[in-house]
């Protein structure tokens, strides 16, 4: 018998006893269900990996997107699915029509700089001006077509919209899903 101050309880079987055999506590019904679940989980994992390789979660074939402005003056290549903290490149190709006085002006919405995390712009713009809703970059431009690249590194997961515009011409809007 336990002492007076000891907290104790008489032994009872939580595992069913059959014919005084070894109490194993095996639950084959549960285990069979688990095996089925395990099989399904492996199939799921395989599908996730295939989707990943194809770029469903970014950095692959299915993640790539391209949009052109309505007037055809410029187009944007970007990744519609990005990963937080992972670098990517958004490339804008401009045609002759976007050029004005040997200059290219390009408006980028705030989201490109903030949530999509533009780290660097290539080539370096001659100037960048704060405008409502975003930044206006000015590049010297002598020949067309030309390319401007934004090196992005998004930090916030979520769906983000961006807009790029050549003032006086049409704009391109897009959505980017940033995964954590």
């Amino acid at each position: 018998m336990p002492g007076k101050d000891t907290v104790a309880e008489r032994i009872t079987d939580s595992i069913p006893r059959v014919d005084n055999a070894v109490a194993v506590g095996e639950d084959l019904d549960f285990q069979r269900q688990w095996w089925r679940f395990e099989k399904a989980a492996w199939v799921m994992l395989a599908l996730v990996l295939i989707a990943d390789a194809l770029g469903v979660f970014g950095r692959g074939w299915l993640a790539r997107a391209e949009r052109s402005s309505a007037d055809g003056n410029f187009s944007v290549r970007y990744e519609r699915v990005e990963r937080a903290g992972t670098p990517s490149v958004m490339t804008i190709t401009v045609n002759e029509g976007a050029q004005q006085n040997r200059q290219l002006q390009l408006f980028a919405s705030e989201s490109v700089v903030e949530v999509l995390g533009a780290q660097r712009i290539i080539p370096q713009p001659e100037s960048s001006t704060l405008t409502p809703g975003g930044l206006l970059y000015t590049f010297p431009m002598t020949s067309a077509p030309a390319e401007v690249s934004f090196e992005l590194e998004p930090s916030f997961p979520g769906v983000h919209t961006f807009e790029l515009r050549v003032p006086g011409a049409s704009s391109v809007q897009g959505k980017v899903l940033v995964l954590p």
Binding site: S14, V22, V24, G25, E26, D27, L28, F30, Q31, W34, W35, E38, A41, W42, L45, A84, G85, P157, P180
Partner: protein, 149 residues
Amino acid sequence: MAFLTILRAIWGYVFLIFIGRIVGRRPGKQLTPFEFVLIFYLGGLTLTGMVGDEFSLTNAICQIMTVAGVHWVITAVRARSPRLARLLDGTPLTLLEGGYWRTQTMKLMGLADADVMAAARDKDIRTLDDIGMATLERNGEVSILQRQE
């Protein structure tokens, strides 16, 4: 964001438990090189995602405390809920009983006769015939009971 790093720590812990459970139990009291690789590799890979670009001591301490907290909660719930315990640890499985192999269990748990025999030798049992019962325990060990004459 600090809130996200806490969520990441919780997610990393839960996801690793899930993967560990899916990968399954392997017999043996000690880790084989296979399991070493698995554990260190999974741990390292998880770390990159959990830490992200926050290399601060503050982040490390908060994430460690988060993981410890989640572990404490799960342990507490597991002690009260046999269903959760069964889900997290599985149930013991009989591998050999009364001279018969449980072939389905052996196959699906990825076990070979040699694994059972290795556990039997540990108990001074020389042949398979002397085994009364072999059980795959929840921690992956094979426990052996000698056949009673």
